[in-house]
Amino acid sequence: MAVLKMQRLGICAWKKNRKQILELLQRRGVLDIDTDAAEDEVFKKTDTSEARGDFERDIQLIEHALEILQQYVPEQKSLFSSLEGKDQVDLEEYRRIEAARETVLEKARKIEALSRETAEGETEIRKLENEKEALEPWKSLPVPMNFAGTKRTKALIGAFPEMMTSEQLVEKVERCLLPEQDRDGELPGYFAEVVSADSSQSCVFLLVKAEDADRLEEHLRTEGFSRPSRLEDRKPADRQEQLASEIKELDRKREALEKELISFAEYREELKLASDYYRARLEKYEILGNLLQSKKTFLVTGYVPERAAGDLARELSEKFPLALELADPAEEEEPPVLLANRKVPSSFEGVVEAFGLPGKGEIDPTTIMSACYIFLFGLMLSDAAYGFVVFAACLAALLKFPRMQEGMRKSLRMFMYCGISTMFWGVMFGSYFGDVVDVVSRTFFGHQVTIPAVWFVPLNDPMKMLVFSMLFGVIHLFLGLGMKGYMLLRDKKYLDFVCDVLFWYLLLMGLILILLPSGMFESISQMQFNFPPALNLAAKVMAVGGAAGILLMSGRGRKNWFLRVALGAYDLYGVTSWLSDVLSYSRLLALGLATGVIGSVINSMGAMLGGGVVGAIGFTLVFLIGHSINIGINLLGAYVHTNRLQYVEFFGKFYEGGGRPFNPFCIKSNYVEIKEEN
């Protein structure tokens, strides 16, 4: 249970070694470099934004290329790939890519170009296909679409936006050529044909005398006639054939391009490595932009964990000519926070980090909290079989994927420990998949077998469980107050310890001791406490003493006595918050009951089909689906509410957080992990 002690490291070195020194620091990854150093006349910061921009563009290029590859050649990923961790790459391979980075970039560019070309080809194909589609109704027209007519005639080629038969067309044409008032005139010669017709349009071909053409077209236009937008000088059928062969050609080309693109899939690993390489360079240049540099030297200052400081200082001074200084941080500084705990509690560091790392002067609560976490989580889930499932699943994942990411490993280990605790409480409360043993033995074997609870069954005696939930709550809260006391004692603030911690202990314990033998408590819990009169008196004295102490001493910073007592009274009112905090632990009972009762509901639903083979199959199905859902939901509930009890009730008593996380200068890779040679 500790926050790692940090030291200040300052280096002043020659600029000519800058690259190697930064690279070494980056690979060791133990130095949190200051980024807020102030410039002066000699030491200035250099602007690296241009180089960084270049790297960012390179990274984007490679990422885009990888995306394209993923599209054409999807990478086979198992369901558990997120557990597998990053691929390991040795330094030699990394150096090789570093040397060949330009060719890798070239490959990425080529991939981009190929994908662009493929896309262009596809657009072209689509365009041609649309055209071919548009010609479909004209297929049987024996003349080119732009056929204008002969010397004496003119052709009208176009479409009406409706279904039309030849008769209808003829009627339309004749009505125009031979108007009503001129019924007896001679009908001029013409030729009309419906080339094709469907419900949305009719394509027609008309041939009329040159002198009638304009009039007729004008008239037909008012009836919806329009000429097609595209006029080819070939017969539609020929044109279609030509288009088909063009499409085929383009398709072949696109296939060739795709094949070439797919052949780049073998460079995927190289691309990933190069992407990480540029990411590391980017990181380095970001740091470089924050370093103070004179004409020939540069300065690096930052925090390094004490246990790594010696090695780093030695390595640096052995390899390079430089001036180096290690010192303890000054009193007013706030060093970044890195937690270091033993194996079991370290799994719970994520929970503390999610709330906030210990601020200045606070202790790392991880160890104590982890014990409470395991305890409370088990109580909420409280089913031996569920606990075993969780435990086994986490253990299997941990063993199968040894190179899992650190954060993931910690979470899985955390749930594994919680699974053990869940098994323990399940046995105490006699819950195995709810009441599956009872139900199965009753339904399929005729006589009921019950695994007795080692302690008691909460559903049969919920008041007892409620009282114990609150007892666990009081212990948890007192532990929190004790942590506060410990911190005050450590800082030698004895008066604060007495006023803010001791008086509260006195008051609360006094109140509890007064409550326990009272008739009200007895009627609720069916538990009887008979204290000797001396203890009863002591309880009253404690409560009154504690209350008086809080009343008089809480506002001890104030000179004005009226104000001081008023502040004390306000503080004393805080006893109600203790009440609500303790009541909050009733969720231990509620969530525990929820797990057990829903489990029983599932079991009795499964048993509805009765005994026999059909019943057994039905039961197995209901059992598997139902209990998977129940585990999932209650795991979520237990996780959320255990966190809440820690964050709100427990941390509320002593812990604020607000520390700055230790953020070392290191290789922040996306895909690969680089193995160090030593």
Binding site: V351, E353, A354, F355, P462, M463, L466, L583, S584, S586, R587, L589, A590, L591, L593, A594, V597, I598, S600, V601, S604, I633, L636, G637, V640, H641, N643, R644, Y647, V648
Partner: protein, 159 residues
């Protein structure tokens, strides 16, 4: 007449607990799911976090089911042999179910809204997931208290 309807009151209570808490959860989870889907379109990698936040208002429905089950079990509706209860006991069971029914309905809707806000938080600051989870969990406290009272009351009423 009043006494004959005893069993009916009890069943109505059980049904209301499952019904109203279920409606609340459906609304809450539904609303949070819409917000979650929006976040996932932008960044599919946040799916698991968003899903957890979406599920939080779903517990009220389960608590309602729980109270309904305990009540139905109490009057023997599940084992197929209904017990005879008088009107007063029936009404007591009915009222015992009400905390879960009403608080379940309202708290699930509010928890859904809080979940939406938390999903927004996670969308912008995924590292603050621990805190984002806490806000909806605060609302759930009252559903848990209601569940507790309903279960204790149903359990405590002699049949």
């Amino acid at each position: 007449m009043f006494d004959q309807l005893g069993i009916v009151y009890a069943v109505v209570g059980a049904v209301l607990a499952a019904l109203m808490a279920g409606i609340g959860s459906a609304k809450g989870v539904g609303a949070a799911g819409q917000a979650g889907a929006g976040v996932v379109t932008e960044d599919p990698s946040k799916f698991s976090k968003v899903l957890l936040l979406q599920l939080l208002p779903g517990t009220q429905g389960i608590y309602g089911l729980l109270v309904a089950f305990v009540t139905l079990n109490k009057i023997g509706a599940l084992s197929g042999s209904l017990v005879q209860i008088d009107g007063a006991t029936g009404l007591m069971l009915f009222f015992a179910c009400l905390p879960m029914a009403i608080v379940g309905l309202i708290s699930a809707i509010h928890q859904g809204n809080t979940s939406i806000a938390s999903i927004g938080l996670v969308a912008k600051k995924p590292e603050q997931f621990g805190k984002a989870m806490l806000f909806p969990a605060m609302v759930e406290t009252y559903a848990i208290l209601a569940l507790l009272i309903s279960i204790l009351a149903v359990n405590g009423i002699p049949v």
